[in-house]
Amino acid sequence: MALLEIRNLHATVDGKAILKGLNLTIDAGEVHAIMGPNGSGKSTLSYVLTGRAGYEVTDGEILFDGKDVIEMDPDERAREGVFLAFQYPVEIPGVTSMTFLRTAVNAVREHRGESVFDPMDFVKYVRERATDLNISDDMLKRAVNVGFSGGEKKRMEMLQMASLEPRIAILDETDSGLDIDALKVVADGVNAMRSPERGMLLITHYQRLLDYIVPDHVHVLANGQIVKSGDKALALELEEKGYAEFLENAA
């Protein structure tokens, strides 16, 4: 059984059709990349998969581990193992990163029937992961994403992924706004998470990220559908020719 199976997905935002019959299958252990021009619906897909309010599925199916997730609330999906690294991580004044992480990790662990961490043990658990991502204790004491640079926010997303250990990780433009050093740190973090049990969906506009995280499959999203699929070579081809061809074909 596929880890994630999206069949004929149609979705609207504010009554406007954005996804128009999208099909995609991701098996455990695979890394897929979705590329597409701005406004093609990449972020919309990530929100539909995570159940954000206002993103309405009008047709089709989303099966995660064979279970229909469309009726599941966002927090339930997350506890089942769906993770989204946000394109624009949200600032939450008044909630420290450490508390936020611990609450999330414990909610997920409890759901899995694992023991929950007390605050002391949790600090250890997070530190192990934070060090690899160049995240200081000071950042963990600060309010979630408040005053963080673009790169810090993206690394914090990776720390959340590493701490939550999802079954499927969707990374929405995790490369955007990163300089080359930060990009390498993030890519190392993602590569360390690759495993035979886990699937990944990289959403990106540029092929640069794919030099560091080599995908098994590459898809082009245009006009609300996957219009072409291939291997890594497809990303290079897109880099050269741009998306014009697909936009015209799709129109």
């Binding site: 966002p74 949200v90 939450i92 909630v95 909610a107 939550l164």
Partner: protein
């Protein structure tokens, strides 16, 4: 006759100090001012949004003897564990057996008001009824007509009080609906420093009407931190009126946490009478059901180079209604005034409401003043972010609400009080925020 006036006139002839000229005159002045005005109505400037119709039928009787009760377990262990001078009122009357006033430094007097009215009225005469303007505060006028007991604090020049004073005010109604009219006075000499903590709770199940008046006078350079915790039962009407007179260079910092009472009102009137005063009025409130929670302030900048800041933040659920009415009045001579006020409310349910009216009235030309009011729901982006990490809906909502209030509570300079207030907020949220409000969530 206005409601409750006959009760006042009947009872006051037996109160301590009766027969002392100025005390009789003060009670009479209270009765006259209240008699002329009656209970506040919505057309009164400072009562636009809070109705006292619940008091109109004079259902409340002045409490006679206070029941003998022990000191109840206070909702807040750390403040209870804090070393303090303790004054305990039950039904508006000081309970000497429950007070703890040993070891007061020289030149400090913490006493029951009734004792002073009987034994040393001269000490009270310059202050009592001189700070709160009866014509602007009809409920203070009524309280003055009932002037009998409460707490009085005198702190001499340059004394730094070694422990906070903790005023614990317990309302314990019996069979019938009960009224209490406590009166407090705080007089601080030049350069004196003190902390006053107030806890207002209800001990028994009946309904009550608690009409509190506090007058405070701070001489030059005096410093007072004042923390109020109001957690009376939902069968209570709690009205508190505080008037503070501030001399040059003095500092007054008030923080009021209200989560109790059917109607809970804190009115603070601060008079900045000398240059260089620093006055902070902050508050946090939590209300649900049909509660009304009112924070009304009046800050009068009468002298130059003073600073006043107000931040009131609250959370309203169910059909609760919040009121913030604040006026900063900058008089002609009060140049270089720095005054601002902010009201922020979180509305957790479509039927919750806030009436916010921050107001600046400025007659000086060289001032820096600002005001603002916001009201809104929880930030959807933040909520989704927490949910997307697996945090359950109710927990996520509580985290965001707590974060919203914690910024205000973090400003409290006394750590045990800040911790207590945080704990209280967390407990309140745990007890009240378990289901998404109507229409919220996905």
């Amino acid at each position: 006759m206005q409601p409750y006036l006959a009760q006042a006139l009947d009872a006051s002839s037996t109160f301590a100090g009766a027969g002392v000229g100025w005390i009789d005159a003060l009670r009479r002045a209270g009765a006259d001012a209240y008699g002329e005005h009656g209970l506040p109505r919505r057309r009164d400037e400072y009562w636009r949004y809070t109705s006292l119709n619940a008091l109109l039928d004079e259902g409340f009787q002045l409490s006679e003897a206070a029941p003998a009760i022990g000191l109840p377990t206070l909702p807040h262990p750390s403040v209870a564990g804090l070393a303090t001078y303790r004054v305990v009122l039950v039904n508006g009357r000081v309970q000497p057996k429950l007070c703890a006033l040993d070891g007061m430094p020289d030149d400090v007097l913490i006493s029951g008001l009734e004792d002073l009215l009987a034994a040393a009225p001269d000490r009270l005469e310059p202050y009592l009824g001189q700070i709160a303007p009866l014509e602007d505060m009809p409920m203070a006028a009524l309280n003055t007509a009932f002037l009998q007991d409460g707490m009085a604090i005198f702190i001499g020049e340059n004394i730094i009080l070694d422990k906070p004073v903790h005023l614990i005010s317990i309302t314990a109604p019996g069979e019938g609906a009960m009224m209490v009219q406590p009166r407090h006075l705080v007089v601080m000499g030049q350069g004196a420093q003190a902390t006053l903590i107030e806890t207002h709770i209800t001990a028994t199940g009946g309904s009550s009407f608690n009409n509190i008046v506090t007058e405070m006078q701070l001489a030059e350079g005096a410093k007072l931190n004042h923390f109020v915790f109001q957690e009376e039962a939902d069968t209570s009407v709690h009205l508190s009126g505080t008037a503070v007179s501030l001399a040059a260079g003095s500092f007054y910092d008030s923080f009021v946490l209200q989560s109790g009472a059917a109607i809970g009102r804190s009115e603070i009137r601060a008079y900045l009478n000398g240059p260089g005063v620093d006055c902070r009025l902050d508050g946090v409130y939590l209300a649900t059901g049909k509660q009304v929670v009112d924070n009304t302030t009046y800050v009068e900048h009468a002298a130059p180079e003073c600073r006043s800041r107000q931040v009131y933040k609250g959370v309203l659920d169910g059909q609760a209604r919040g009121v913030f009415q604040g006026k900063v009045h900058v008089m002609r001579d009060a140049q270089k005034t720095d005054g601002n006020q902010l009201s922020r409310a979180l509305l957790l349910s479509p039927r919750a409401e806030i009436d916010a009216r921050p107001e600046l009235e400025i007659y000086a030309d060289d001032v820096k003043c600002s005001h603002g009011a916001t009201a809104g729901e929880l930030d959807e982006d933040a909520l989704f972010y927490l949910l997307s990490r697996g945090i359950p809906q109710a927990t996520a909502r509580r985290m965001l609400i707590e974060a919203f209030l914690s910024e205000a509570i973090a400003e409290i300079p006394l750590q045990p009080v800040a911790e207590d207030f945080s704990t209280h907020v967390r407990q309140w949220l745990a007890g009240h925020i378990d289901q998404p409000a109507d229409g919220a969530g996905s």
